[in-house]
């Protein structure tokens, strides 16, 4: 499965772009400094005569000033300071540029971090217009996105290398992060603050789409779950609402209203399950439901021992939730 773009230098939005620009400046200046120091060192080593036994020390410099050396060192320090000022200026300039992202007609999203997955809530418009999904953020290309960051348990950190730098989600604090995607595509994001057993598999995806695709997706998400066609899927729905599934998961338009786990109303429309752990297809879904601990040890979803028929039924039901 192609994981999506995840490289801070492969910048596909203005925020990551500014930082990539800053990176190049830092890289250039630092490389020059590094080479200069090495050159000075190598020259010093080539120039200074070798001796192997500890010869008597050269005391000619005791209490005698060394004007030439002092001049060179002072010069080097002066150059260093200038270099640092340039870096500082570039850095501050970039900070300002990042802060200046125009936010007119922004898409407002609330992202809540959990151990080890993400709730994504689209909060624009009246309550009837808001909806919730998980581990997959869809954004329209060219429109700014303002993300309100919350944490439900421990500290997490939202990072989408190709779109924007990271920002922590801190319990008891609120923060926002603004970015824009300028090219359609799939960008991988990941939790960047150590948050327990499955910090490693706490990923998500940003799907940047054209305005109309985004609108279509949005309409789809607003709708309640489709009524499954076919006996097996029907039975799957019954099972889902009666056994443990419904205790944690919600499927809008059914009796399943659990709030502890990801909302599954449109599960089949997502690319991954388990917060980027597995691709979302029938086989993986079945094996995930049967025993998530095999794929993501420590995850809060328990193993669900059940007959093959039941499992198949539930999988086919979930598969129908486009």
């Amino acid at each position: 499965m192609n994981p999506g773009v995840h490289d801070m230098l492969a910048a596909w939005g203005p925020q990551a772009g500014h930082v990539a620009w800053l990176w190049n400046i830092f890289l250039a200046i630092c490389t020059v400094v590094f080479l200069a120091v090495l050159a000075a060192l190598v020259l010093a080593l080539r120039r200074a005569p070798r001796i192997d036994a500890p010869a008597p020390p050269d005391l000619s410099t005791v209490n005698v000033p060394e004007p030439r050396l002092r001049r060179s060192v002072t010069m080097a320090v002066a150059i260093t300071i200038v270099g640092l000022l340039v870096l500082l200026a570039a850095s501050v300039f970039t900070d300002r540029a990042l802060a200046r992202l125009p936010l007119r007609d922004a898409v407002n999203i609330r992202v809540t971090g959990h151990q080890w997955w993400w709730t994504v809530t689209y909060v624009d418009g009246p309550v009837s217009e808001t909806f919730e999904t998980a581990n997959e953020i869809h954004v329209p290309v060219g429109r700014p996105v303002v993300v309100q960051l919350h944490a439900s348990d421990v500290i997490h950190s939202l990072w989408i290398p190709s779109l924007t730098g990271k920002r922590d989600l801190i319990p008891g604090r609120s923060a926002t992060l603004a970015f824009r995607a300028d090219q359609p595509g799939i960008y991988r994001g990941q939790c960047a603050e150590f948050c327990g057993f499955q910090h490693a598999f706490m990923a998500f995806e940003v799907h940047a789409e054209t305005a109309e695709n985004f609108a279509r997706w949005r309409q789809l998400q607003l709708a309640p779950a489709a009524e499954p066609a076919g006996a097996q899927a029907q039975r799957g729905k019954q099972l889902f609402q009666s056994i443990q599934c419904a205790m944690c998961h919600a499927i809008q338009g059914t009796l399943a209203q659990g709030k502890a786990g990801p909302d599954l109303t449109h599960l089949a429309s997502r690319r991954t399950i388990g917060a980027g752990t597995l691709p979302n297809d029938a086989a993986h879904l079945a094996s995930w439901i049967a025993d998530p601990q095999r794929h993501k040890p420590g995850v809060n979803m328990p193993a669900n021992p059940m007959s093959g028929a039941d499992l198949a039924a539930i999988v086919s039901y979930l598969g129908s939730l486009k």
């Binding site: 001796i51 036994a53 008597p56 050269d58 870096l87 970039t94 802060a99 801190i170």
Partner: protein, 661 residues
């Protein structure tokens, strides 16, 4: 001869034999007998001689270094290929927490203090550290703290929330069991030890320098350790306090970090990084000290720009307290504040640059005696400089927002800490080994070890910069194959193995050379500072007669015509030392030192019971305090004999003597 206030009689004969070169071999033997720790196993527990303690301290730290290294190797094995299942997430979290905590709290800072405990008195021409029993106590407490941590690891109770123990993950709600209480208490142990050693080093440097060693003649290494000691006094309390708050939150339900009850999780980060950032410089500045000690010796000339060097070290010490927020750029602290911390973080590059240029200038105008220590010194210029430059990148708020908490940071911090501290430390071990052991280490093995370490290090850590920029976060126990991080991780693992091999070679070298090394003699490198003026290894009293100093490199600059060259008149049959004035080190007073005693060991044992007990019940604070008080009072209480010896040596100040007949 004076009488005691309660009619105590002065000791009949003690204190008659005085030291000084005039006394010859006889006095030398008396001095050895006086200053030697008692023999045998019991004597081992009574030892308070700073060389014995320093040697043990050093070895203990190196053992912890090896353990931390093994943990690192395990992590590299686990990460060598995607989806590896060598260790699961639970164990991995314990391992990387143990690795970080071990390296930071049980190796990097203590090893520097251990060397200082051994070297500083020798470099100052003193007979011992100030407060020798406290020196021993701080070693024992450190040892027991480390043992507790590893004992916990063996019974699956190792901390698992990272060496930074961020709440709430490490707090009561998400850190089940005792794992993070163990961490918090390990902090208490190591902080007590570090703080006591800091006070000891400061007092030794201020009051116990050889006559004539004015402030502007103190060796640069000692200056570095002095600054470090001051930094410890103001950095370590922060983490000690934070860990106390943490353990109280976990055990007695206080709410310091509970947002639900008015607490704040960022309070932890502020307190922790107020310690955590200076911590980096606590590790790095002694490295600078090693550089400044070795470069003049191997360039065969005095250090260029002594004053600039001293001022730079002090400046670094001060500035290091103004940077902590750059570890919190990803949190929602005010933007303006962030800019300030960016500026401060860049500012601190200047004093380091000054020192680097002064060293290059010294090498430039010197004649090079190319021995293994110099190799390690030179590697500093490659590795540390790279680490410092990536540090500038992390100092920039916006750049940090990308690389923060990614593998880029892992690469950066290892470039700084290994380049700035471990490589110079290895140089220092090769440099001072003959002083500890009396024999030189093998040059050939040394060069092999160096090149393996140097190449291995860069192969292991350079790729991590790229991994970080490619989106690989820190502290992950594995990663999916499709991320394409596999190859570079494999390379890093190969590098790590090479590095480990190089370190192992140095170990072999040290063990072999202890037997078969070339005899060193007092001054094998022809160095200029006082530790080389005495035998290798030094006699129990360090110096038969305290030297007198007339320059920055006493052994090079010698004694001016007609000036005295040593101190005489201190008791040889009683542990008597000379105290000098703080600024210009004039002989000022005499002081009697205590005899070797097991009290430090017993007190440390009691303290350990206290600390470990309080992990399980708050009441341990009460009965533990009583338990600790007993050996401490015993420790303080003078015996009849001590009082008599005191009186035998006692002289009052002129003013007092006037009114006391």
């Amino acid at each position: 001869m004076r009488q005691g206030p309660l009619g105590e009689q002065p000791h009949p004969h003690k204190g008659r034999t005085k030291d000084g070169l005039a006394g010859g071999e006889l006095v030398a033997r008396v001095l050895d007998a006086t200053w030697a720790d008692p023999p045998g196993l019991w004597g081992w527990f009574c030892a308070i001689n700073h060389k014995a303690i320093g040697r043990r301290f050093l070895v203990t730290c190196l053992v912890f270094f090896a353990l931390g290294g093994l943990l690192a190797a395990t992590m590299r094995m686990q990460l060598s290929r995607p989806g590896n299942t060598l260790v699961g997430p639970d164990l991995y979290n314990q391992i990387f927490t143990m690795h970080g905590s071990t390296m930071m709290f049980l190796f990097a800072v203590p090893v520097m203090q251990a060397l200082a405990i051994y070297l500083v008195p020798l470099m100052l021409g003193a007979r011992a550290t100030a407060f020798p029993r406290m020196t021993a106590y701080s070693y024992w407490i450190f040892l027991f703290g480390g043992l507790m941590l590893y004992a916990a690891f063996l019974v699956n109770s190792a901390p698992d929330a990272g060496w930074f123990s961020y709440v709430p993950l490490a707090g009561p709600a998400y850190g089940a069991g005792k794992r993070n209480d163990i961490w918090a208490q390990m902090i208490t142990f190591t902080e007590v030890s570090a703080l006591l050693d800091a006070v000891i080093i400061i007092c030794t440097v201020f009051k116990m320098r050889a006559p004539g060693m004015t402030l502007n003649r103190i060796p640069l290494y000692v200056w570095a350790m002095l600054v470090v000691a001051f930094m410890i006094m103001f950095a370590m309390p922060a983490v000690a306090l934070a860990s106390a708050m943490l353990i109280m939150d976990r055990l007695v339900a206080t709410h310091f970090f509970n947002p639900g009850e008015g607490g704040d999780v960022l309070l932890w980060q502020h307190l922790f990084w107020f310690f955590g950032h200076p911590e980096v410089y606590l590790i790095f500045i002694p490295g600078l000290g090693f550089m400044s000690a070795m470069i003049p010796t191997f360039a065969r000339r005095p250090m260029f720009g002594y004053t600039a060097m001293v001022l730079s070290i002090i400046a670094t010490g001060f500035l290091s307290f103004g940077l902590w927020v750059h570890h919190m750029f990803a949190t929602n602290v005010p933007e303006l504040g962030k800019t300030f911390f960016t500026a401060a973080s860049m500012l601190i590059a200047i004093p380091t640059a000054v020192q680097i240029y002064c060293w290059i200038a010294t090498l430039w105008t010197g004649r090079l005696n190319f021995k293994v220590p110099l190799y390690y010194v030179l590697s500093f210029f490659v590795i540390l400089v790279i680490g410092g430059l990536t540090g500038l990148m992390l100092a920039s708020v916006s750049l940090d927002s990308q690389v923060h908490d990614s593998y880029f940071v892992v690469a950066h911090l290892h470039y700084v800490l290994l380049g700035g501290a471990v490589f110079p430390l290895f140089g220092a071990l090769y440099y001072w080994y003959p002083k500890f052991v009396g024999r030189l280490m093998s040059e050939r093995l040394g060069r092999w070890s160096f090149w393996l370490m140097f190449v291995g290090f860069n192969v292991a850590f350079f790729p991590m910069h790229l991994l970080g920029m490619n989106g690989m976060p820190r502290r992950v126990y594995t990663y999916p194959a499709e991320m394409g991080w596999g190859t570079m991780n494999l390379v890093a693992t190969i590098g790590a193995v090479t590095l480990a091999l190089g370190i192992f070679l140095t170990l072999v070298n040290a063990l072999r050379s202890a037997r078969h090394g070339v005899l060193a003699g007092p001054d094998p490198w022809g160095a200029g500072t006082l530790e080389w003026a005495t035998a290798s290894p030094p006699r129990p009293s360090n110096f038969l007669a305290t030297p007198i100093v007339y320059g920055r490199d006493p052994l090079w600059q010698g004694i001016p015509e007609g000036q005295p060259d040593h101190v005489s008149g201190l008791a040889a049959d009683v542990r008597e030392v000379l105290c000098t004035t703080v600024a210009d080190a004039q002989a000022d007073s005499r002081m009697m030192y205590p005899a070797s005693t097991p009290m430090p060991f017993l007190a440390a044992l009691a303290t350990t019971i206290f600390f470990v007990g309080s992990i399980f019940t708050p009441w341990a604070v009460v009965w533990g305090a009583v338990l600790v008080a007993v050996p401490l009072v015993w420790w303080f209480w003078p015996t009849q004999g001590e009082a008599q010896e005191e009186l035998a040596l006692e002289k009052l100040d002129a003013s007092l003597a006037a009114e006391k007949p």
